[in-house]
Amino acid sequence: MINRKNLIGLQHFDPPEIELILDTAVAMKEIVSRPIRKVPTLRGRTVMNLFYEPSTRTRTSFELAAKFLNADVINISSSASSVVKGESLKDTVRTLEAMGTDIVIIRHPMAGAANLLAGWTGAAVINAGDGAHEHPTQGLLDMFTVREKKGALEGLKIAIIGDILHSRVARSDIWGFLKMGARVSVCGPATMLPIGIERTGVDVYCNVDKALEDADVIIMLRIQLERQKAGLFPSLREYARLFGLNRERLSLAKKDALVMHPGPMNKGVEISGEVADSLQSVINEQVTNGVAVRMAVLYLLIGGGDA
């Protein structure tokens, strides 16, 4: 078990804890591959999916993970709740807690929402993405996928490419991979590289070819059109030309480099369709592994109790 109430971010997790989650996820993946994918581990427990942002894959992934473990799952989205009536996050959570819930999974557009929530509720809190802060289960499933393919994480060269400034996936990946002994490079336009990111221990590049050199893993980030409107880059065309991953660029990385993307993809912008669908791409396996990793997290946070 993990001696913590919450999973807010990987920044404050220790390598043995991460290792335990990844090891547990191996067993969970085995369960998912069975014809009858259900174990009674979380029977009688209630899991609340509290989503303040639209999400398909993360919400569904958590829902499936909880259901495979036999928990009762309630989905609440901000558009169909008292949030639209002006209720504060604190009051919403207190209300839901009063109805009895063991674990709250929160997705929120603002950084720090999961931290605040954890202070306001006695239930366990899992951060499913808060603003540009962290998305720890995505980081974990990325590590799980790489470990499964490469055997170990230590010494690998990981290149994360795109809008680092706004990416919670990048932050969780950076913390997670660095803690597990990998080398991490980040690369993007100067306007999308957050100040001081090198102090985390990553190498920073604006030249994508340099970042890709000898990479074992390439993680491409989604570029959002509204960043262009905000003046952070001139055009999707120029972005794709300077930072997009195509077959020629991919050849700069190691021959067996893995191509990853947290989705949803803009094919033809940050990644060419050809690369996304190539044999080196493990993008679909990331999705499968997401369920196993989230089962592991749910189990480790609340499954060991006396219920």
């Binding site: 996050l89 603002m110 950084a111 720090g112 603003g131 540009a132 962290e134 985390t200």
Partner: protein
Amino acid sequence: MKLLIKGGTLINPDHKKIFSADVLIIDQKIAALDHNLEIDGAVVYDVGGKLVLPGLIDLHAHLREPGFEDSETIATGTMAAAKGGFTSLACMPNTNPVADNSSVIAYILYKACQEGKVNVFPIGAITAGSKGEQLAEMADLKEAGAVAFSDDGRCVSNAAVMYRAMQYARMINMPVIDHCEDTRLSAQGAMHEGYYSTLLGLKGIPAAAEEVIVARDLVLAGETGCRLHIAHVSTAGSVQLIRQAKTRGLKVTAEATPHHFTLTDREVTGYDTGTKVNPPLRTLEDVNAVRQGLRDGTIDVIATDHAPHAQEKKEVEYDNAPFGISGLETAVGLVWTELVNTEILSPLEAVEKMTINPARILGISKGLLAEGADADLTVIDPARTEIVDPAKFVSKGRNTPFAGRTLAGVPVLTIVGGKIAFEYAG
């Protein structure tokens, strides 16, 4: 009514003197400063071992009334001031309605007269509605009692409007106080842009957002001859710009807040909305530069930027929380703990920055410790320590990042116009 303050150590910043004397107050004035005064019928306060100062003046406070009485009122804000050792404060015009016309100024002065514990000096808006477009009726505001002009909380972003405002304020010999922030550079930022905003995933407010406006204002002040006061200086670059301007002989003054000379952006870790303030908490380098600016006189004034908010407004996501720190009740302790006890400022220098300097900038006859002066006095006990407990604040705003801190230097007696406005009960 006679009050006799016996045995204190007096600090007179006007003459830069520290001496022992008793103070006799008759009605609203200081009647005598002398040794071993014995007066029949006087109420005697023995303050042996404590410091007796001219009443402290806060040049920058938000009283929230009219319009935001759930966050503060003139009654509660001035009570907090008295408890914090302040006998006078200047209140910013970002109320609702904005203090951009004489009737709002008159209303504030009336309420302060009826319910206020300390002297209130309203600051009028620079522009109508603080929208940064048309000038407010500055002469009218002055006649009604405004002591300065500011669009605090909002920066006058249009340089041409600021240029005209300074020309006009100069004509009527009034200072302009600017909250320096290029709102396009700071747009939607929640904290200082730097390593910690990167870790926390919060949108950053770069130091440049403050500095480009400080630089602009210094140029405009030079052109117009207007007395310019820069509010809440927070960056090393701003301190340097102001220092250079003063060397050139420009009529510019500046203030720093206790939170900007004490805390860094690292405090935001954990997303405590009590740390959300504008300008934001900056880096250690900036904090040290602000301290150096205070020490070498570049920064003339210590002001609180008291910005109280009702509890529920701060119990939200960091991005959704309003900016501001409730500062009146922690200011003296922070000045003594962070600046005096660390020997960055002498007690006399610290007192200057909270009395005579703001009085001179605002053109008010306060900050004096002399026979015939207004009987506004603050007694502080520099040896006493206290742990900051927001639950004990008398301000409606309990939003503070200092909860739990031990501060040395406690105001124990505040006298306003010859009346006891606050007495420390332990």
